[in-house]
């Protein structure tokens, strides 16, 4: 299994390998980051605010004199963890609904697709802003909001795939064999959607990272004392004028994460289309 994965990784083009390394790097940081942090997250440890690089503070200090590296290592966990959970929830829900629509015939498909079409015509940022305004932004709610926002997108892709697959002869054969809808959806249709769905999952993940960081950046996402990477950019925005590392570092961190995922998806064989 590991050997196969290694072989597949070796077959990736250079950009894909870079993407894979970035993704693995950020997964590791999300898992072990806080253990590696040189200072406690909330501690005021530097004499100066917006310090640049130094041996004691690799990424300098923030607007209150806290260690940026330590805050970044713990913020990454929020960003990666929340986005991964939300992307999984969105993909699982969207795909399950899509399969239901595809095997359920027009009576299920029509109203469901109509509803999703309606949701998709609310731009995702606007939709999540309305949801934040209505429900607030605690961590579980943020997760839910991000997931709900991206269910329609995943549904649309998964349904398009599933509806095509349901037309395939092997599904017709399965129907004529007397198979039930559940078997058709799970055993005949789903296995052939895995590759494009994985790519779509990656894309949703990127969208959600950007959405959640954006919300945090606007002060509507993760609330203090917790902080994700977007919050770090926000709290240090006053350092923008002097080009502080404290604002650049978390922004670059988000970019390397999302670009890494994008590079990886793009290099995967048989990737789905997405924006």
């Amino acid at each position: 299994m590991i050997a196969v994965s290694l072989q597949k990784a070796k077959a990736l083009p250079l950009s894909g390998k870079i993407g894979l390394m970035l993704v693995i790097f950020w997964l590791a940081i999300a898992l072990f980051g806080p253990m590696l942090a040189p200072y406690p997250v909330g501690a005021f440890v530097a004499y100066d605010v917006f310090d640049g690089y130094s041996a004691a503070h690799w990424l300098g200090s923030d607007y209150l004199g806290r260690d940026v590296l330590s805050r970044l290592l713990s913020g990454a966990r929020y960003t990666v963890g929340l986005a991964a959970a939300a992307a999984m929830l969105a993909s699982a829900t969207g795909t399950a609904l899509a399969l239901t629509a595809a095997v359920g015939g027009p009576r299920v498909d029509e109203p469901l697709s109509r509803f999703m079409d309606m949701l998709i015509s609310i731009p995702s940022k606007i939709f999540s802003l309305v949801l934040v305004a209505a429900f607030g932004s605690s961590l579980p709610l943020l997760l839910l909001i991000a997931a709900i926002t991206y269910v329609p997108g995943n549904y649309r892709i998964a349904r398009a795939l599933a509806v095509n697959l349901v037309q395939m002869d092997y599904v017709q054969v399965a129907k004529a064999r007397g198979e039930g809808r559940f078997h058709i959806a799970i055993a005949e249709v789903l296995p052939n959607m895995i590759h494009p769905l994985l790519a779509d999952f990656g894309l949703r993940f990127v969208f959600i990272v950007l959405l959640l960081s954006g919300l945090s950046f606007l002060g509507l996402g993760v609330q203090p004392p917790d902080a994700d990477l977007g919050s770090l950019v926000r709290e240090n925005i006053s350092g923008l004028g002097e080009g502080a590392l404290a604002i650049l570092a978390p922004a670059v961190a988000i970019a390397t994460l999302t670009v890494g995922v994008n590079l990886l998806i793009d290099a995967l064989p048989g990737r789905g289309k997405g924006r």
Partner: protein, 602 residues
């Protein structure tokens, strides 16, 4: 100079690059030459490299492939030495191309006229009005309908046969010295093919152009070519004058091809003297799409008033052209499309119309085998998974018992047991079709519905599948409905035959009745359109010469559906009254006004 051949290809080699980045030849060592005005046919199965070679005569290689060596001379131009601009000046000007599927090769967003005159305009050969006048002249010569206005249409408004002829007009607009025809009739129905072949022969070949004709069909080539080159896996197996190749082939592979092209008659097992109740009976079946009216007709009917029976262990051939509704019969029997009216009886018991309400045993007794094994087998599953599912589903077989049965099935379809762990993608076309059959057999069915099971395969592979089916039938006594567009195959292997035209049964009967005339005019056209493997057949055949003039048709819904194309139609009768169904002396029943005496003998 005059002795120099017009076209000369020497030691041509085309290479491609695989996923690992290694280069390998797809065709190599190709030599041939032809004189001005000659037609050379490149013959071979899929993967033989015939299209690749044909395209090199335009200096073109498909993405991923490269013309790696050798020389290609057309007139005084050595194509391997020309740059892109110089090649572009030759293409569509001195060398023209007629693509396999005209429906795909015409730009869907532009009018026909725009595209037909384009070669003349981009090569600055004549002003637009002259080019359009010439195009209309060509349309007329190619026997296209409405030659003056057809150019204003878009590709989707025209039929495949018309588009193929329009593509010929596009090729001829510049009076090219060399024309490449790449399987130009393969995508067409046999009755359309004969019309297009005639138009090609009259207009394309008789203008004195040199031509390369790519085909997999020896009989078609026999009508068109002076020379034949037989290709297999990128190499020439045999080359020579048409008559020599067709009458005394020297190479074994050529002989295999010829043998496979004409299906051998297979003996039918003797029937029980006292016919028991038929296995399958269809009564007054009408099916289609859209709302069903009070009379039981759907808004878009596909099948009208179908009645048929299949005896135990017998084979019924259902034949018709694309769109005739032949596959729909299988879909209705399998329950995938509930009929609008009528009944399907299995063993005398009516089957529920749709999937809902059928018992698992009813499902088991009728199995469906689709044409294209690539799409009929789930690419996510292995051979073993595919074969085990019906065993578990119908017979509750699991574990070792299932494994043993899978092995038996593999043996039955003559596939090595080592393949069972393979994914479908790892099998060849013929192997896939065998697995496709085995899956149906795994259910222990009484009836197999075979929808064009050999038409996606190369002739040699297809013939092997037919042999296998005949054998299985002998051993297992399973009844078959064999749906096909190929009347010679159906005549060779079926006990009974049903001819379908536009959803109506025009002729039914035992196969003996299909060996000699008289036939229903449509059956006659079908049989007469199948090319014979000898030169001169195209000129002698009377098929597809067009119908006699007739007055306006009445508006009775049951008028003869074949009326617009029927060469035997009678004014005042066929266009006014619906035809009756009546028996002919030799044992078949036809849906036609005419009796045996007025149906022209084939």
């Amino acid at each position: 100079m005059t002795d120099r051949p017009h076209i000369e290809v020497k030691d041509l080699c085309v290479t491609a690059r695989n996923a690992q980045g290694e280069t390998f030849p797809i065709v190599s060592g190709i030599d041939f030459a032809l004189k001005r005005g000659e037609v050379l046919a490149l013959i071979g199965e899929s993967g033989s490299g015939k299209t690749t070679i044909a395209l090199t005569l335009l200096g073109h290689a498909r993405p991923g492939a490269t013309i790696a060596g050798g020389s290609i001379r057309v007139g005084d131009a050595e194509l391997t030495r020309l740059d892109r601009t110089a090649l572009a000046q030759l293409r569509g000007n001195r060398i023209a191309y007629i693509a396999q599927s005209a429906a795909a090769a015409f730009n869907p967003s532009r009018t026909i006229m725009d595209q037909v005159v384009e070669p003349a305009l981009i090569h600055d050969l004549m002003p637009r009005d002259k080019a359009e006048a010439k195009a209309v002249e060509l349309f007329r010569a190619l026997a296209l309908p409405f030659p003056d206005t057809i150019g204003a249409r878009y590709p989707h408004q025209l039929s495949g046969g018309q588009l193929q002829r329009l593509m010929a007009a596009m090729a001829l607009i510049t009076d090219p010295e060399l024309i490449i025809l790449d399987e130009p009739t393969t995508a067409l129905d046999v009755t359309t093919q004969i019309e297009v072949l005639r138009a090609f022969k009259a207009v394309v070949l008789e203008r004195g152009a040199t031509a390369i004709y790519v085909s997999h069909d020896l009989a078609v080539v026999a009508q068109m070519a002076d020379q034949i080159v037989v290709l297999n896996q990128g190499r020439i197996r045999e080359a020579g004058a048409s008559a020599q190749i067709l009458h005394s082939p020297a190479d074994d592979y050529t002989r295999t091809l010829m043998a496979a092209a004409r299906p051998a008659m297979r003996p039918t097992p003797a029937r029980a003297a006292v016919p028991a109740a038929p296995l399958l009976e269809i009564r007054g079946l009408t099916a289609g799409y859209g709302k069903i009216d009070k009379a039981g007709r759907p808004r878009m009917p596909v099948l009208r008033d179908i009645n048929l029976t299949i005896e135990r262990g017998a084979t019924l051939g259902v034949i018709g052209e694309s769109g005739s509704g032949k596959s729909t019969i299988a879909r209705v029997i399998a329950g995938l499309l509930p009929p609008a009216s009528g009944q399907v009886l299995l063993d005398g018991e009516p089957l529920p119309p749709g999937l809902a309400g059928r018992s698992r045993d009813q499902f088991r007794r009728v199995q469906l085998v689709f044409q294209n094994a690539d799409t009929a087998l789930n690419p996510a599953h292995s051979v073993q998974q595919i074969l085990e599912r019906p065993l578990a589903f119908y017979h509750g077989l699991k574990g070792n018992a299932a494994h043993l049965r899978v092995m038996e099935l593999m043996d039955l379809i003559r596939l090595p047991a080592t393949l069972i762990d393979r994914n479908i993608g790892g099998l060849s076309g013929g192997q896939k079709q065998r697995v496709n059959l085995a899956r149906a057999l795994a259910a222990d069915p009484q009836l197999i519905l075979c929808d064009e099971v050999t038409s996606a395969l190369d002739t040699v592979v297809g013939a092997a599948i037919l042999d296998l089916m005949a054998e299985l039938r002998r051993e297992l006594g399973i009844a078959t409905m064999f749906i096909s567009h190929d009347i010679s195959t159906v005549k060779a292997i079926c006990d009974d035959i049903l001819v379908l035209y536009a959803g109506t049964m025009v002729e039914t009967g035992p196969r003996a009745a299909f060996q000699t005339a008289p036939f229903h005019p449509y059956t006659d056209l079908l049989i007469g359109s199948v090319p014979e493997m000898r030169a001169g057949w195209l000129e002698e055949s009377h098929a597809g010469r067009g119908p006699p003039p007739i007055g306006a048709a009445g508006d009775h819904p049951d008028l003869c559906r074949f009326l617009p194309r029927c060469p035997a139609r009678v004014d005042g009768l066929c266009n006014i009254t619906p035809p009756p169904r009546h028996p002919l002396a030799k044992g078949n029943r036809i849906l036609c006004h005419l009796g045996a005496e007025s149906l022209c003998p084939s």
